[in-house]
């Protein structure tokens, strides 16, 4: 009985593996209905499962697969053209086959599954006898596929046999085959040949042997009894033999030497490697200490050699063990062609899925987690992204929408890109929708860049779909994506162009157990930040920090990032003096980014993640701990939690300086002459025009002949200026440079800078805005106009 159980196990494992491949093949078949190789492959799956299930007495499954086989066989011989309708029937039957297999796996029997296969069988019969499916379903079952009029001439035996006879014949052959196999095995054993005890591939061999003796013979070439008496089965043989070369090649891959290993054992191995990595780190640390102390000693060389060889081997070992846990992402991708196919039929759209990089490998645990998010993203692309065919045609696009799924490695991460050529995301629409649903406030919406607006799709409760369809629109899916990707410490990037399409990029670390981390110091404490979440590090000064609505922000190139001190998040008391230079680590997770202010950057190190255990589980902001080379414990920051905590821990990064500047500016101004305006222009005429224009205001005017002089005046003045009129074209230092220099001073951060220039080009104006010009006045101007501008910007309320 045990033997039977073993066979059953093998059968199930094999069957599920085949089914995985089957889905993909079937969808491909619809695109290339004439591909004989594909047809043969699909036929063989149905056939193999039928053969094995009849052997194991699964009658329901046998019956179903038998009828499937009929249809596929006809298609294989060109007697039947695969149409989408026929495909639907075949796919439905495969679904039932899967359900039966699940039932067998769970209950050990297919009779108790409660799955009624009769309607499907009727449909299959109808297909194979060439009738319209609906008609056949309406009419009572007409089990007459026996008399096949289109039977091919070169296989009379097969065509003339009743289904039952064929089955018997096959069973007989199967038995014969097994006997032969057994005999051959014994022979081999007798010959003293090592017989690899790999059960699973044997099952395949047997399965194939029914339909294709040729490929069976190929891998075990010199077996004399390999070709069975070609009786009626020969009818099957030639067709399969045509694909013999391919099948042999395919057979070769299945026979590839593999063993199945319990995942727990691999996990244990990974843990041990983790210890080794820690040991290695420690060794390297000790070596550098020793090197310092005994510089120039002979034994250092030897020690160096040992240390570096140990560390190389450890790294290699770690990679090797990591690889054993790696699975190709194709495992996850496999289900998508079928999904897209079903979706496009359901939505009446034309969508094609283009996949690449299926062979890209990543950790098993990640493969398991990544499936769901991808399902949601792809559904979204098909449902919201790709338009209806007529809309596409009207927009001058190909009616067939393309969803592209790409996977590739990038450094220590794997990148999965999902792009569609659909209608794209409209940032304005997203913002207004988000405001309408109360996801963000109007103020927030205004401050949002397009890129930030795209990430709105990940907010819970947010959906752009006008109506809720079967497929999407409940505003849950993309939130799931975000949570799952966060769990994996991944990063999401969205890029979109209205009318052109949307690309979603997922960046996920390769493995979860041993990671690269950035070590940072805050006061006297150290923390490790997973490098996969670190976007970049920048060094800034206090002056680079702006205050927006009481929050500290950093302007980094075109982006505005909120800043938060790690010491505020973790409640670390400031015992050490603060540096003028601050380090900011920009961390990104899923769709969000913030800047973490730290005191010191220590460096990059490979760390092994250790759990804090039950007692300290779930401490906010801490993902775990690691042991460093010196034996001390360093905590690993939980980037997702940090992002959350940053929202509440938002203290002003710089309070003192801002306060003094504010006080200085708020100093009482009673007279118009208390207001100081700086005029910078290289032409004396222009300066006097400006001075005369401003005279009626009564403000104090200081003049400078060029940028350098102006900067000197600004630096050394006791009283801050209230406004600055700047000409753009000046010798030594031009107006743009001057403006950006002035902006570096904290107290002049908010001083209005007004450009007064004869340059009128759009790019000039843009540059003016970039460097922080509040107003751009082109010469010539009327005195009143200039006066009003200055008045407005200085908030001059006192009358002279």
């Amino acid at each position: 009985m045990d033997e039977l159980q073993e066979i059953l196990q093998d059968f199930l494992v094999e069957a599920f593996e085949m089914i995985e491949q089957l889905d993909q093949d079937l969808v491909e078949l619809e695109n290339r209905p004439d591909d004989l190789d594909l047809l043969n492959r699909i036929f063989r799956v149905a056939h193999t499962i039928k053969g094995s299930s009849s052997f194991l007495n699964f009658d329901v499954l046998t019956k179903l697969t038998h009828h499937m086989e009929d249809v596929l066989n006809k298609a294989r011989h060109g007697d039947l053209k695969i149409t989408p309708e026929i495909m639907d029937v075949v796919l439905a039957s495969i679904d039932q086959m899967k359900a039966l297999l699940f039932s067998i796996r769970d209950t050990g029997s297919d009779a108790t599954s409660g799955i009624n296969i009769d309607p499907t069988v009727v449909k299959l019969d109808a297909v194979s006898s060439g009738k319209a499916i609906d008609a056949a379903v309406a009419a009572t079952p007409a089990p007459s596929p026996v008399a096949e009029p289109e039977a091919a001439a070169d296989e009379p035996d097969y065509a003339n046999m009743s289904a039952e006879d064929v089955e018997k014949e096959i069973e007989r052959l199967l038995m014969e085959r097994q006997e032969q196999d057994e005999k051959r095995r014994q022979e081999k054993r007798a010959n003293g040949e090592a017989m690899p005890e790999v059960e699973a591939p044997r099952e395949v061999d047997e399965g194939q042997s029914e339909s294709a003796p040729a490929p069976q013979a190929a891998p075990q070439a010199p077996a004399p009894a390999a070709v069975p008496a070609p009786k009626p089965a020969a009818a099957v043989a030639p067709a399969a033999a045509a694909a013999g070369g391919d099948a042999a090649a395919a057979g070769g891959t299945t026979v590839e030497q593999t063993i199945r290993v319990d995942v727990n054992r691999l996990d244990h191995l990974m843990n041990l490697i983790g210890e080794l990595v820690l040991g290695k780190n420690r060794l390297i640390k000790i070596y550098s200490d020793v090197e310092e102390r005994y510089e120039g000693e002979q034994f250092l060389d030897e020690l160096n050699q040992v240390v570096s060889s140990v560390s190389t081997v450890t790294t290699d070992l770690q990679i090797a063990v990591m690889k054993t846990r790696m699975l190709p992402i194709g495992r996850v991708f496999n289900r998508f062609p079928r999904m897209i196919r079903d979706l496009s039929r359901e939505l009446n759209k034309k969508v094609e899925l283009v996949m690449s990089g299926e062979e890209t490998e990543l950790d098993k645990s990640i493969v398991e987690e990544i499936g769901d998010p991808l399902v949601h993203i792809i559904r979204n692309s098909a449902d919201h992204g790709v338009e209806m065919p007529d809309v596409r045609a009207a927009a001058g696009k190909n009616e067939m929408g393309i969803v592209e799924l790409k996977a590739y490695h990038e450094g220590n991460s794997i990148v999965i890109e999902i792009s569609d050529d659909g209608k794209g995301l409209d940032p304005l629409m997203l913002k207004s929708k988000a405001v309408e649903k109360g996801v963000i406030s109007e103020k927030e919406a205004d401050a949002m860049s397009d890129k930030e607006a795209f990430t709105l799709i990940f907010k819970p409760g947010f959906s752009t779909a006008a109506k809720i369809t079967n497929v999407s629109g409940r505003g849950v899916g993309m939130d799931v994506v975000k949570t799952n990707i966060e769990k994996l410490n991944g990063i999401i990037e969205v890029d979109s162009q209205v009318g052109k399409g949307t690309t979603i990029k997922l960046k996920i670390p390769l493995t979860l157990a041993i990671i690269q981390a950035l070590l940072v110091g805050v006061q006297e404490e150290f923390f490790a930040i997973p490098l996969s979440s670190v976007l970049e590090t920048v060094r800034i000064t206090q002056d680079d920090i702006f205050l927006v609505e009481g929050k500290s922000v950093l302007r980094l190139r075109s982006e505005v990032l909120s800043l938060v001190k790690l010491s505020d998040i973790f409640g670390i008391e400031a015992t050490m003096e603060e540096n003028e230079n601050l380090y900011v680590v920009i961390i990104g997770l899923a769709d969000a980014k913030i800047g973490l202010v730290i005191d010191r950057l220590i460096g990059q190190e490979e760390i092994v993640i250790k759990s804090l255990g039950y007692y300290l589980k779930g401490v906010d902001g801490i993902a775990g701990a690691t042991i460093r080379g010196d034996g001390r414990v360093t905590l690993i920051a939980d980037v997702a939690a940090l992002m959350q905590m940053a929202k509440t821990a938002h203290k002003k990064v710089d309070t003192t300086k801002k306060a003094t500047a504010a006080i200085a500016q708020a100093a009482k101004k009673t007279e118009p002459s208390d207001y100081k305006v700086l005029i910078v222009d290289d032409s004396k005429t222009d300066r006097s025009i400006m001075r005369n224009s401003l005279k009626p205001l009564g403000v104090t005017i200081v003049e400078a002949g060029d940028g350098v002089e102006a900067l000197g005046i600004i630096k050394n003045s006791d009283h801050p200026f209230d406004a600055c009129l700047i000409d753009i074209e000046m010798p030594k230092m031009d107006g743009y440079t001057l403006a950006s220099e002035i902006r570096k001073y904290n107290k002049y951060r908010n001083m209005p800078l007004i450009a007064v220039t004869s340059r009128t080009g759009k790019t000039d104006r843009m540059r003016g805005v970039e460097v922080g010009m509040a107003e751009y006045i082109t010469k010539p101007y009327s005195p009143d106009y200039l006066m009003n501008v200055v008045k407005r910007h200085t908030n001059l309320t006192v009358e002279g």
């Binding site: 404490e525 998040i569 759990s611 804090l612 039950y614 300290l616 042991i627 414990v633 905590l635």
Partner: protein, 164 residues
């Protein structure tokens, strides 16, 4: 000396002399001082006792959780029993030790002021009545007497219970 007291002393001396019967219900414990009081934990729950080593502070935890430390590659939490029992913080002395207590799969280190000794108590000598009134419910197993000292026997599962 009153008769009563003499009785007690006699009894205690008897105990000392009397060898423990094999089938008698006993509890072997390790005693230690925290502040002025003496406590004990069943020896079966003690994995090891080590001299103080460096630890790393963990933010967002109550004050008595000092942090985590590295015990031969395992990261364990470190709890100050002084702070947990509401006593003021004290500097480490020569006698300060970390007691590593294990209960099931959980292991936690505790800072104590001084080890006293390991000894065996009869189950019948342990007074369990206090347990009910104790504020730290579930923390105290019972009160044991030893010579002239009163020893609070702590429960490992109570010590290792997370209270935040």
């Amino acid at each position: 000396m009153s008769e009563k007291l003499q009785d007690v002393i006699k009894k205690q001396q008897k105990q000392k002399v009397q060898p423990l019967k094999k089938d008698e219900d006993t509890l072997q414990v390790v005693g230690f001082n925290v502040g002025d009081e003496e406590f004990a934990v069943s020896i079966l729950n003690i994995q090891e006792i080590i001299k103080p080593i460096d630890y790393t502070r963990v933010p967002g935890t109550p004050g008595y959780v000092l942090g985590v430390f590295n015990l031969r590659g395992n990261v364990l939490p470190l709890i100050s029993l002084r702070l947990k029992f509401g006593l003021p913080f004290a500097k480490y002395t020569e006698d300060t030790r970390f007691i590593v207590v294990k209960n099931g799969a959980q292991t936690v280190g505790f800072v104590i002021d001084k080890l006293t000794q390991a000894f065996i108590l009869r189950e019948s000598e342990i007074d369990h009545t206090l347990d009910m009134q104790s504020e730290q419910e579930g923390l105290i197993y019972g009160i044991g007497k030893r010579e002239d000292r009163i020893i609070t026997i702590l429960k490992a599962e109570g010590l290792l219970k997370r209270e935040f």
